[in-house]
Symmetry: C2
Subunit: 438 residues, 2 copies
């Protein structure tokens, strides 16, 4: 049976961030939106045919987390505030080495539950055992874009890693699962963790299959310097070997020259901006406004929950604006509307997806309902559009995400996941953490 | 009747941020702590004499918001993202001019409710009609340190403003109300909004009475430049006229030279660091580590909810660390423990208060209980101390503040205020906002 939702306010997240009052959204049996707009001009419905739900708050598209390593919920907070390299070598890598398939799946289930409760319906994930990541997301009902990790480390064979992704895509396709919930692609870690030969092979495999490549680019200052010595900047290196000719999502991109930005714009590379992780790890402030001015598709990412330390994309929305304003000394550098669009349609564009990120006919009905029962919604629903946006984006954030749908299926109701038991998911991760902690 | 609380973990917020396991806190009839520490060494209690409550989470001191203009909840989000001066002149100042006593009181009630729910038990407030601010806080049960505004604007008489505070303190004392919930002091807006004669008079009045002076210092870059032309820096000016000889809490302090910092350290001036407001308004990043290295007492403030836009001090804790790390390029620049201590004992020290900010015998029993029923507490309670701190400070933040006490009285139970109806407080502010909006 299909679905009709009524709400006093709707943010379709179209390019100008329209606020529609007294709105309706229709979802068809296949989970796609058939109408999104004013209730007055919605098609007539036969109530016997369709479940009609009146909601008290704001409807908007599901947010898109453009860069995450969510199974690391198992490791969250381990090592406290050790310096980065000691933290990785002494705590995180040894603990990760102990994580088995069940631990990775459990970590991803909890990460997915956490994100859904914050209104994040799609995440771009880079983590080992992509099959466990996919399986976890099929359990919670979220949507995922997997960049299966490819890395050159002792005991690992990058040729086999690439070959495994090739064969998986050749078997299941780039998108599969109910309502195309899973997208498969390649996750070469970075230019500094792989030989050039491997990057070339990934580029070729991905382009042949129309698959997305997710890769870390210019996250740390020294990484960039190392690359420059041999091959110009990392973006230039990636272009030389043909990687930028396909679909590419570059995470971080903190240390980018004007030429690097122009190159990414020319090649249509999407960027996952991760302001929280970049701040917490002291990596730097990415040149968000320069990237946006160059018309690069920029989404927002949390990065992994072991380093950030939550998967609340609303914090990234707020932080992106704060850091853009500080670095340009301009308090209007990023409006509430622009920041919200980055987390929705911007993320979709960065991932090269035209089926999510906006509430419009033909797209998947990935929806979020925020109710207004919070002191941060000072004026309630009947305020000017810009105040409603400011209250939602700068004030309430994730506090009042009440209901979430993916492809028209309700996966969060009144703040709790419908498909899995949250407390049980927490308990499983707790046990996994106790087992793998070094 | 007195109170005993048991909890599996206690953060007294002593100078080294000890984590006490299997802990007890005793509160006497007068609302002060008589014991805080391991349960094993707690004094024996007669259950008939004392309410014993077993809590499942972490106990810590109530947080201290060292700089706020909370009645501005009425104006939150108005004007959206207008440039600062247009926002003030076209939206905020005209709306404020329409706010009557009842509106100010309603705004403060809602702000107080919001803060209590986030575990903030004390706030330092600068807003017109200090009597309404005091009355609102007496209604919610919070604690407040009022800097009654003194400002030189058309239609206002700064002499009368100072005189009114003098008479109020002479009548009621510096601290009054149940469990000393109200502290009164002077709130001269800033060096640029008052003649030097006024600042001199404030200094004298406050020093005579042992009252705290709250003042904005070096928030914007140009403010500092303007002052330098005549009198050196703002801190030097304030010192020359004798203001720093008394108790002073300086808010913002973004643009401070080494000499300014050394001067504030020498004079024992407290600083309210407001990273969120400074970022959102593009004021700059205060030199937190330099201030801390100079042994200045630094607390954290949200600033007003019209500009920040929420009163969630946990966001300031997280942001303070992120900005400190970015500006020093050191990912260990501010640990979770150090950031939490700023929001508790640091705030108390900045306000010159030795009766709050730490759970130790003799201080007021201003307490927060955070339960761990959230994905961000990956490992639950039984994890190493540094992981528990990281999960609380970087991950959970305000999400799971469950119960709050002020002077031993429970003012929040299971996330809702006990003394006032939250939804009614929201409705009253909503009506006020609709009336004053321009």
């Amino acid at each position: 049976m299909s679905l009709r939702l009524h709400a006093p306010a709707l943010l379709p997240c179209d390019p100008i961030c329209t606020v529609v009052r007294d709105a309706a959204v229709d979802v068809d049996d296949d989970g796609r939106i058939s109408y999104s707009g004013p209730r007055a001009t919605a098609p007539a419905v036969d109530d016997a045919d369709r479940t009609v739900t009146d909601l008290p708050g704001i409807l908007l598209p599901g947010l898109i987390n453009a860069h995450a390593h969510s199974p690391m919920t198992v490791l969250r907070g381990m090592g406290g505030d050790l310096p980065l390299l000691r933290w990785l070598r002494e705590v995180i890598w040894p603990a990760e080495a102990r994580m088995g398939s069940a631990d990775i799946r459990a970590g991803m289930v909890l990460g997915s539950v956490e994100m859904l409760r914050h209104g994040v319906t799609t995440s771009a994930e880079m983590y080992f055992q992509g099959d466990q990541v996919a399986d976890a997301v099929l359990a919670t009902g979220a949507r995922v874009v997997i960049g299966v990790p490819i890395i050159d480390l002792p005991g690992m064979d990058w040729r086999k890693m690439i070959d495994d992704v090739d064969r998986w895509i050749d078997a299941d396709g780039v998108r599969f699962g109910p309502a195309d919930r899973i997208e498969l692609g390649y996750g070469p870690h970075s230019a500094y963790m792989l030989p050039i030969e491997a990057l070339r092979l990934v580029a070729e495999s991905a382009r042949q299959r129309g698959a997305l490549v997710q890769i870390h680019v210019a996250e740390a200052h020294d990484e960039d310097i190392n690359q420059r010595e041999g091959h110009g900047s990392v973006p230039q290196l990636l272009d030389e070997i043909g990687l930028l000719a396909g679909r590419v999502l570059a995470a971080h991109c903190v240390h980018m020259s004007d030429a690097d930005i122009a190159l990414f714009a020319r090649r249509g590379v999407g960027i996952a901006h991760c302001p929280g992780s970049n701040a917490k790890l002291a990596s730097g402030i990415a040149r968000l406004n320069a990237m946006r001015d160059a018309d690069i598709a920029v989404g927002l990412g949390t990065d992994g929950p072991a380093s950030n330390d939550d998967l609340d994309l609303w914090h990234e929305i707020q932080l992106a604006a704060m850091l853009a304003r500080l670095s340009t000394q301009d308090s209007t550098a990023l409006s509430a509307a622009a920041a919200l669009l980055m987390a929705t349609r911007g993320g979709a564009a960065a991932l090269g997806r035209e089926d999510i990120g906006e509430l419009s006919a033909g797209r998947w009905a990935d929806l979020v309902h925020v109710d207004l029962d919070d002191p941060t919604f000072a004026g309630g629903i009947d305020v000017p559009d810009e105040q409603l946006l400011a209250n939602l984006v700068w004030g309430a954030g994730s506090r009042r995400v009440r209901d979430v749908w993916v492809a028209g299926e309700q996966v969060v109701a009144f703040g709790e996941p419908t498909r899995v038991d949250r407390q049980e998911a927490q308990a499983v991760v707790r046990a996994a953490g106790a087992r793998v902690r070094v």
